[in-house]
Amino acid sequence: MNKKAIFMPLLSFFVLIILTYSYYELVVKDVEDKSSTIGLNQAELVNAYNKGIENEFNAEKAVSHSLNSAINEFSKNGGVNGKCNNLWKFNSDCEPDLEKNFINVFTNELLKYGYDAKEIKINDNSITIILNDFTYKKELKNFNLEYSLPIAVRKELDIDLNKLNSLKDQVKKCLEEGKPLNTCTNEKTEVQENLMVFSIENNKNILIYTEKIETKKPVFVFKINTRDTGIKRETVF
């Protein structure tokens, strides 16, 4: 090849080198692209709100499902500990402290969903559950995000605790006054030897999910051993 013909081949060769290197630097190499951070902080901020919404939604649903299960369990056990076998005995471990016992059952059900309540209150047949705050933290370049959302759920109870408490008071008064139990209340009763069995059907439906959905009005059943009620009647001499 003569010297005069070297120009174009050389030019082609240099163009190839330059383009290959440029392609490598601009496209192939993982260059930290500052433009990708535009709007990322704002996106994270809104994402924090969205996570909060998701958490709040799930907390509310977990409470609903737990309440249904708790009402079912509570009614099945007659408002006392499962070991008591539906037997009410005052001033003992089988004390029918209905609100406290319901809260215990509900707390156990709620724990199955991974929620641990900070506070649970029952007032006028509605329940208020205060859960741990939802917190979301994100650390980005030049941007730290910390979001905290208090979660509280309030629901009407699908079991009439007021009615059950009223019934409990009537029964206790009867026992203290020594009156026959079947005269104290208008509720359905049944005598089984020395046991007086009370059955109260819930006025509202609840949903129970096992393999299928079951809609039912749980029946609240409790028994009182007339010979061992736990109530000490004062003897006047």
């Binding site: 174009m8 433009s35 709007g39 809104v46």
Partner: protein, 158 residues
């Protein structure tokens, strides 16, 4: 200088002129190719409009319903009025907004009316940046909760 040398020098110069032209053309092409993947400007108007649009639904000072807690995505019907929305959007006088709340009827509110009126010119991408999105919303009207649509069209003059 002898005539032969003179002739050769001028001949060399003549040969170099097309080479220089070719070099300039090739350099220009190479420069164009290299700048192809490189973003030379960042158009953030659409990003700005998207973020401002979301404010309508996330902020209780705009449309978000508040019943002790702010329910993002649920619109408080009583907040869908000109006065409240003007106040919610008052910091942004360069963007025109057209809001349509669609239930069984359509309610329309314009913010920054003079700019919002130009929404029909959104085809002119050189002068306007426009965004348009329809949200599926829930509307709390006193005790009734119903579903509806909220269409938010925005326009910004470049």
């Amino acid at each position: 200088m002898n005539k032969k040398a003179q002739f050769e020098t001028s001949h060399e110069l003549i040969i170099w002129i097309p080479r220089i032209i070719a070099l300039v053309i090739v350099a220009g092409i190479v420069f164009f190719l290299i700048t192809l993947p490189v973003k030379q400007s960042f158009e953030i108007d659409k990003l700005q409009e998207t973020i401002l649009r979301q404010r309508f639904l996330y902020s209780e000072n705009c449309l978000a319903h508040n019943d002790g807690k702010v329910n993002s995505g649920i619109i408080d019907k009583s907040k869908f009025n000109q006065k409240n929305l003007d106040k919610c959007f008052e910091a942004n006088d360069k963007i025109g907004v057209n809001l349509n709340l669609i239930t069984d009827k359509i309610e329309t509110i314009n913010l920054n009316q003079k700019i919002a009126e130009k929404l029909d010119f959104c085809f002119d991408k050189k002068h306007f940046t426009c965004t348009n999105y329809t949200y599926y919303v829930l509307i709390q009207d006193e005790k009734k909760l119903e579903s509806g649509l909220l269409n938010v069209a925005m326009i910004k003059i470049k």
